[in-house]
């Protein structure tokens, strides 16, 4: 999505000051779906209790966190969810939720509205029940999720559809697009399938080969409309939109992403990571204060010190501008936070080819003998911007 000047300025300031203004907290790994691509184990290994989470929220508010994303697992499996939401609102957080919505009824939608939850992101894998339900492994789940979306919309809440794409639903993105249009909600396609958090790589077999993503990369309808609502005004008050992902901000020009700079992830067990996709343990809130971990953890400082211009392989890559390398996935899949993330190399070659670059080969593939770049594209169209997100 487009950046906005107000958000861009705020992102720059929070990155410069290392202000943890966007924090993702998983309240549980338990879930009432069994999605085939899920990276979690669905067990409760000792989740933080209500008071522990409240304490964490207080610390985050004191540290300057504004954007709070509560996710899981399925957050509505926590009996104390509304107590936690009420507490979070008393601390003036901007609250977004990620849920499969199976447990949202009219009454719960009304309560979410009353608590001024800003946005609810819901995963939908296809508009066809057979495809969606086969991925969630819960019969009737699409119908229940769509019913819940209508309850949320009836309350005027902002819903966003997330559609992770895997082999089982690659071309379903078109009917998800149509569904989103019918519902009048934004959507995001997510081409990221990650290893399990315990390092199990078996889920990667669900991932579409990069070449199979060409129809998506070439689909001109995937150019998202600008969400910029900026009306640059004179002081004392300037206005922008909070819907920007912010990732386009110039503040991120030489750093890989926001992880550890102005955002982080907290697990149901109190562990703090730079990002949900970056398995670099930096501390545990059951033993340490948040600010101690955020500002003093050597691991957090190591992540924070990474500069793209100093990456041993990627800094030399001629098609870097087409690359969306994820340092966390580079660590997870390649074992090196500073290394190339080959999936990103594959996609960058495709995108560069679509943009007209002749024989695009990433630095990683160029240095590997007998490895060719992926791209051999007969007819090219303008490169659309497919936004990647997390599920």
């Amino acid at each position: 999505m487009a950046k906005t000047p107000v958000m861009d300025g705020l992102i720059s300031r929070t990155v410069e000051r290392h202000l943890p203004w966007s924090v993702h907290v998983d309240l549980t790994y338990r879930c009432n779906e069994r999605c085939i691509h899920c990276y979690l184990d669905h067990e409760d290994h000792g989740e933080m209790k209500t008071d522990e989470i409240k304490n964490v929220l207080e610390q985050l508010a004191q540290s300057g966190t504004l954007f709070l994303t509560l996710s899981g697992g399925e957050i509505f499996l926590r009996d104390d969810l509304f107590e936690l939401l009420e507490f979070a609102r008393s601390l003036h957080f901007d609250i977004s939720l990620k849920t499969n919505a199976l447990l949202i009824d009219a009454e719960r939608a009304r309560k979410l509205r009353a608590l001024s939850v800003r946005r609810i992101q819901i995963s939908i894998y296809s508009a066809e029940p057979a495809v969606h339900d086969a991925i969630t492994k819960v019969r009737g789940s699409l119908e229940r999720t769509l019913t819940a979306i209508r309850f949320l919309q009836a309350e005027g809440l902002q819903v966003k559809i997330a559609c992770p794409l895997m082999k089982q639903n690659l071309m379903a993105y078109r009917n998800v697009q149509a569904l989103a249009a019918e519902l009048g909600v934004p959507y995001v396609l997510d081409m990221t399938i990650t290893p399990k958090m315990d390092g199990d790589m078996s889920l990667l077999q669900l991932r579409n080969p990069a070449q199979d993503l060409l129809p998506i990369l070439q689909d001109p309808t995937l150019n998202p409309p600008s969400s910029s609502q900026d009306s640059a005004q004179e002081a004392p008050l300037t206005t922008g939109s909070a819907t920007s992902s912010g990732i386009e901000s110039q503040a991120y020009e030489d750093i890989p992403c926001s992880a550890g700079h102005n955002s982080c992830y907290i697990s149901p067990y109190g562990e703090v990571f730079p990002c949900v996709q970056m398995p670099v343990a930096t501390g545990n809130l059951r033993q340490q204060r948040f600010e101690e971990i955020w500002f003093k953890s050597p691991e957090m400082e190591r992540v924070r010190a990474v500069r793209e211009s100093q990456l041993p392989v990627c800094s030399k890559c001629s098609i870097r501008q087409y690359c969306e390398r994820c340092p966390g996935l580079a660590q997870m899949e390649g074992g090196d936070l500073l290394g190339a993330y080959e999936r990103a190399c594959d996609l960058a070659e495709l995108k560069a080819g679509l943009a007209g670059v002749q024989n695009p080969i990433s630095a990683l593939h160029a240095q590997k003998p007998n490895t060719k770049g992926l791209c051999s594209i007969p007819s090219l169209v303008a490169t659309p911007a497919v936004q990647a997100g997390s599920n």
């Binding site: 705020l10 504004l66 001024s116 946005r119 902002q158 008050l237 939109s241």
Partner: protein, 92 residues
């Protein structure tokens, strides 16, 4: 200067470098207040506008009349954006 000022309870907000950043959950609009508007926001907890004018007059070493004028203008802007409400009396 008559009236009492309260924040819109639906809003999310945090102070960044002494300035308030406010988000409306209904339309995802982000508002950034300058130092003076931020001061008004911080005190918008049911206090009277006169009390806030006195505070700003002292803090910024300006006359009470000048503070009242500034506040009147700023509060009108904040009210138009539905960031604050001005009441003739404090409830509860």
């Amino acid at each position: 200067m008559k009236g009492y000022i309260v924040r819109n309870p639906k809003l999310a907000w945090r102070e960044v470098d002494g300035e308030m950043v406010i988000i409306s959950p209904e339309d995802s609009q982000v508002h950034e207040l300058n130092e003076t508007a931020s001061l008004i926001w911080k005190h918008a907890d049911g206090r009277s506008l006169e009390e806030i004018a006195e505070r700003i007059s002292t803090e910024y070493e300006v006359s009470l009349e000048a503070a009242r004028a500034d506040i009147g203008e700023l509060v009108t802007t904040l009210e138009q954006k539905q960031l604050v409400f001005v009441a003739t009396e404090v409830k509860g």
